[in-house]
């Protein structure tokens, strides 16, 4: 075992993780000489933020009619009033600075002829404020952050290090344990402050726009450490996933004017959101597509056996497509041999985002079971749930959340170390030896049992896809809960066939699966308990929003027999909930 000492250890290297690292280093400029460890289970620059496509919302030119109030209102209405309004209010103000800051670090925002930054429409917006760089916005943002991080000296990169646990003693963060995948060595990152920025968990499902690496490890790490997860039943389905894989076709396609049509060639959104049409928020459009399919107006794809509808961009013209949606054209050509200039794309909802996450306060401090901060631990980005997005995130509000909370958490971490000057933590070796034995002895070394990691993962994906989808019912969710319980039991008997230490993906996947099973249970049980429909959580047996009983956040804690649920109030400071019509 190897111990590595740092002031700050950041797990996860998407937009939120990189932005946090930069904020700490640029503020420090050698003053305290803080040393930062940047840890990723894949290579830096491979994190799934690179696949964010359409845009990043911010109020840039208020003189043209946008305002912070309008952006906050859009976000809160989009959240179906489950967002914490104080956090939203802060978020919309910081987003503006972030757009301009990363512009200076290199993001090639699309421009107007006069050299200012161009913005476009996105679903659920009252003003075209999605700031974009072609349809590779997240990618260019990642490039700018990664490149900028390279200019600083006081950090070390730990590519391909898989974090296995958060070490917390007496409500104080003491570091992370990890496996160096290249060597198989066990590592202890001893740090005064820790940040979790591990993104979401699309891999729980079969059809997802999320990367193979999006297994929600941060959720699992926090849950296993006895920390609460919040609002996990709210899983976002992006309306336009390419059939059959679920590859993301950006909402910006509709922002630029694309139509959604069913098998009869009808623009069906007129039935569901007559004023916003294709630009209604994601939960509404996803439900509309599933409704069309359920009522027999979908198109059957015999190659995949999936039903879908069409996303039609032909009327946009080749020039506009090449300027604003070149990546979508490339995806159509490379994966289906379809050129969107001449043909529509087959699409259906695809799992895209977790509104829920690690329970944090407005500064990104991770909260414990009694609602007070764990000393020295933060979370940011999709892994965290403040909550800004409530029960449904608006498109173009994901990347800015990562940037804003990278900034907020970076500063909060810095303030903490500057003010409190914490010492390097002390930890009994037993905890570390126990974790090392759990991984290399009990999981890797186990010779008994016949269960297969990939078989269980397959069954989990099928279960979630079938029973915990866009539309949910009590009886489906009960089936999911029973099946997940069975899979969890079988997981105890997994046996790995790769026994090597170097790049043992079999071991990594087994550990990920452990996290995934816990999350699936929290999502399905939370969804079963929530007897209302709100945002992305749509119950056919409880079709209405129920503010009298359910205007509250779900809190899930790990118990001996599965998750224990409790509820906390939503912070409503500006607008009382009203009917959500578009």
């Amino acid at each position: 075992m190897e111990t590595l000492d740092y002031d700050v250890a950041i797990v996860g290297t998407g937009l939120a993780g990189l932005r946090t690292a930069i904020e700490i280093l640029r503020r420090d400029k050698g003053k305290l000489g803080l040393r930062v460890a940047v840890i990723s289970k894949i290579y830096l620059m491979r994190s799934h933020s690179v696949s964010a496509e359409g845009g990043t919302s911010a109020v840039l030119y208020p003189e043209e009619g946008d305002s912070f109030e309008l952006m906050a209102w859009d976000t809160i209405k989009g959240s179906d009033f489950l967002a914490d309004q104080d956090a939203v209010w802060r978020f919309v103000h910081i987003a503006t600075q972030e757009i301009r800051l990363i512009e200076r670090w290199g993001v090639p925002w699309n421009r107007r002829d006069d050299g200012r930054i161009e913005q476009r429409w996105f679903g659920g917006l009252s003003f075209p404020r999605a700031t974009y760089a072609q349809d590779k916005t997240g990618f260019f943002e990642m490039r700018a952050l990664y490149d900028t991080l390279l200019k600083y000296e006081n950090w070390d990169r730990f590519d391909e290090n898989f974090v296995t646990s958060i070490v917390i003693e007496n409500n104080e963060f003491k570091g992370f344990t990890a496996i160096d995948l290249k060597t198989g060595n066990f590592r202890y990152f001893r740090a005064k402050a820790g940040v979790i920025a591990t993104g979401g968990a699309g891999q729980l499902y079969r059809i997802t726009s999320m990367a193979a690496s999006s297994t929600g490890d941060g959720f699992g790490l926090a849950y296993n450490a006895g920390l609460p997860l919040k609002d996990m039943e709210f899983v976002q389905f992006h309306p336009t996933g390419l059939v059959p894989r679920g590859i993301l076709i950006t909402e910006a396609a509709r922002g630029e004017g694309a139509y959604l049509v069913n098998k009869d060639g009808e623009r069906f959104m007129k039935r569901y959101a007559p004023s916003k049409m294709e630009l209604a928020p994601r939960d509404i459009v996803s439900r509309a597509i599933m409704k069309e399919i359920m009522e027999g107006r979908g198109v059957y794809d015999d190659k995949s056996g999936l039903y879908h509808v069409w996303l039609d961009m032909r009327h946009l013209g080749k020039e506009r497509i090449e300027e604003r949606l070149p990546f979508i054209r490339e995806i159509g050509l490379k994966y289906l041999g379809i050129d969107i200039v001449n043909q529509p794309l087959p699409i259906r909802p695809t799992v895209h985002y977790n509104m829920g996450g690690i329970h944090v306060d407005i500064d990104g401090k991770v909260l414990n079971a009694s609602g007070s901060p764990v000393k020295g631990l933060w979370a940011a980005g999709e892994a965290a749930c403040v909550s800004i997005h409530g029960s449904n995130r608006l498109g173009s509000n994901g990347t800015n959340d990562c940037l804003v909370y990278g900034y907020i958490v970076g500063n909060d971490v810095y303030n903490y170390i500057e003010k409190e000057r914490p010492a390097s933590p002390n930890l009994s070796q037993n905890i570390l030896l126990g974790e090392e034995d759990r991984i290399f002895g009990k999981i890797l070394g186990k010779e008994s049992g016949g269960e297969d990691v990939y078989q269980i993962k397959d069954e989990l994906k099928d279960t979630m896809e079938k029973y915990v989808h866009v539309y949910r019912t009590g009886s489906d969710l009960e089936k999911a809960v029973i099946k997940i319980k069975e899979l969890k039991e079988r997981y105890k008997y997994i046996k790995l066939s790769d026994k090597s230490r170097t790049f043992n993906y079999n071991l990594e996947h087994a550990l990920e699966l452990g996290f995934m099973l816990d999350q699936a249970e929290v999502i399905a049980r939370g969804a079963l308990l929530r007897t209302e429909s709100r945002g992305a959580h749509a119950r056919l047996d409880y079709p209405n929003r129920d503010d009298a009983n359910w205007l509250k956040h779900t809190i899930a804690l790990k118990g001996a027999e599965g998750p224990l649920f409790s509820y906390i109030p939503v912070k409503i400071t500006m607008w009382k909930p009203v009917a959500r019509v578009y």
């Binding site: 006069d114 590779k136 990939y454």
Partner: protein
Amino acid sequence: MKVRIRRFDGQKEWWQDYEIDAKPSDTVLDILNRIREKHDHTLAFRQSCQMGSCGSCGMVINGLPALACQTRIGELKTESIRLEPLYNYKVIKDLVVDLTDFVNKHRSVKPWMIRKNPEELEEASMEFQVTPDQNLTFVQFDYCIMCGVCLAACPTVAIDPLFLGPQALGQAYRYIADPRDEGFEERIEVLDDSHGVWRCHFAGACSYVCPKGVDPAKAIQYLKKEILKYRLLHKKKASVKPAELVQKAPPANAPKPPPFDFKIEGGE
């Protein structure tokens, strides 16, 4: 379908054959996942986004470096597939290669925004003024996903381990061509070197295999031109004009700024 994979376990190297069900619409990455999940849990390969934007799954497919996630079986038009780790890298295990040298070379060209006044990178009341045309001078080179495929195709990388390579050089040019950057002089020493731009003899293989259309070979030739101009004519002056800061939002009827000018005064 027969899939033949060059494997390595840290000590010995061997070819292993798998017989796999495959549809023409499957990608090579689908096939690899099928092998690992159903046939052989020990096979090591990298993957993440599965949609050609993260750069994890570069490998040699039927002799040509490419991304596994963007190569469909149908388009290969072969009865069997042969997979190897990227050429010109040290192999760690199976299809996983060591990228340490690759990322270090990239960092050595200072691939970040440089301004003469560094404070301009720290405060953000207004954006730099960049026209759509000016964006076009560098944005193609900003498509680089750092997959490392170009180095596997480069004949010069194969014979000169110190050569910076097409990725790093292309990224140096990405910033040099950016009207917001003023860092040409800070980068010139590492670029104007016998292992820098001059080592490239313009085989163009990098651009041929680049999955994102970055065209690093073109970038390197532009770099050669910029360096020559600088050395011959204006030793103290960078040849790329920096963008002006926007002080306040210009009025809607403001005249268009002049097009981005690549020439230097008195040059040519």
